[in-house]
Amino acid sequence: MIAFIIRRLIQSIIVMVAVAAVSFALFRFVGDPINSMVGQEASIDDRQALRDSLGLNDPIITQFGRFIGNALQGEFGISYRLQMPVTELIMQRLPATLELALVSGTLAFITGLGLGVYTALRRRGVLSNVIMTGSLIGVSLPTFLIGVLLIWVFAVELRWLPSNGRGEVVSIGSWWSTGFLTTSGRLALILPAITLGLYQMTLIMRLVRAELLEVLRSDFIKFARARGLSARAVNFGHALKNTLVPVITITGLQLGSIIAFAIITETVFNWPGVGALFISSVRFVDVPVMSAYLMMIALIFVIINLIVDLLYYAVDPRLRVDRAAHSH
């Protein structure tokens, strides 16, 4: 167990160092950092002085070491475009993205689980077939198109919900701002959350359905039925419980994708989050923001992957034997 955790930790660190190297290369070699910081009229001497003071003439390895040291302290330099510390920019916008991801993740999980269980238990029902066909179209619809269509129906035609922004936000503490506490904030959250969660929902639904059908065929379910247990106890007490391990794993892994796909949703709905910041940094080649975003996303992915792997290992004893046998 400990050997496994250590090996997994080392793998995660290697991935992070690799991403840091990419991020550093981006920072250092894409465009000329000096050109981006000073204006056209700066003299060659000034540029050289700035170059020296920033340590851009040091050996690459030293510079990389410094980059990692700064990154560990959450220091990513100044945005070329907005002339503000990148960390501050990201921190300002992180709450918006996290709230959106949290709500749509929860929404996707709950509705996906419900619909998956329903379509598995009522396999031949008309409604089940309708839901399954609908999910196929849902998978083929690009995220941005879902958002645009939702805006058309609910914001333009019906005028029920706002089409952009976060509504009114309330600040909590020094840097967190939340839309949960105001009516306009909650209303503004609905369409983006559905847009972002729809794809994940269909994914979870199909997974739950497949897993549940698999488990319902197994011997211990037959035995539970033979014991005369009620359908509810068999379906929910025995069958559903055994499908939840893979479902929770996949959902966990999807959390990372939700944060990445938030880029699209945030652009469609003009949501003031980190994804929208990243898009504008790509458009204007704002390298410090790009490299900081890259590091942040990589860190989130690595942490989620690590937690999911450890959970898997802790929850499913069969896997433990398998992996141990495999590694020796």
């Binding site: 645009v148 652009t267 790009m290």
Partner: protein, 316 residues
Amino acid sequence: MTPETQAPQTKAPGRLYRAWDSDLAYAFRTAPVAIVATLVVLVVVFCSVFAPLIAPMNPYNPAALNLMNGFTPPMEPNAFTGEVFLLGADGQGRDMLSTIMYGTRTSLFVGAMAVLFAMVMGISIGLFAGWRGGWVDSALMRIADVQLAFPAILIALLVFGIARGFIPDGLRDQLAIWVLIVAIGLSDWVQFARVVRGASMVEKNKEYVQAAQVIGAHPLKIMFRHILPNVMGPVLVIATISLALAIIAEATLSFLGVGVPPTQPSLGTLIRVGQGFLISGEWWILLFPAVTLLALALSVNLLGDWLRDALNPRLR
């Protein structure tokens, strides 16, 4: 020994032909979904390839435009000029049908080239990794694993952003389409590499490969002439599904405003423009490009699914 070395080359197209002639063709004839999907794809491809010949107008020729035609609703004569547009006209008086034909042209071109790029890259890396084995193989596959953990759209965005940093301002719009193709291609090679690697590891221990080795054939020749034809089935399936993904990725990037240049709008650009006119009620500028994109992506997807099922029992 000469017939032996000739055999795999002449045999591969022969088997493909026989497959077309029998099983695959039969499976196709009996799958209505596949037929409908193929028809949709063929119509869309035909309309976009021959757009300059069959489109009612060239929407990017300023001389052909009449601003008075701006915002003409579909199938209704314009209030000033009396002209009728099947799918309406946009703000500059461009016929939507022609705009969509030209837009699909760009979308399909970028999608197909990106898949081609991903395919060549993935096949080469996959063959090499499977053939060499050892640490080269592990290193390449670890990179593939790490890349697979991130969503493709994120990778494409990043590659696009990095490439833009290297390209001087003046060339950005000219090169944007090629940068986009490379970005989408780089985000998609992993699938190809994995499948080809797996299959080539199986194939390389078979007797025909050993025979080729014994007579001293060059490893590159063995990889591309002998192993590759035998792993083409799964590669074609992935290529089809990748095409749908690439078209959607291109549309997404263009919608986000980081894709094709404004002078060469794709379906994604058209949808982005159309979104702006929703509030004022000109729904046709958004709806028709969106429906075209959806129909194209869904058809290619269904075709890929069908192809996978049809090829699966024999080739995997």
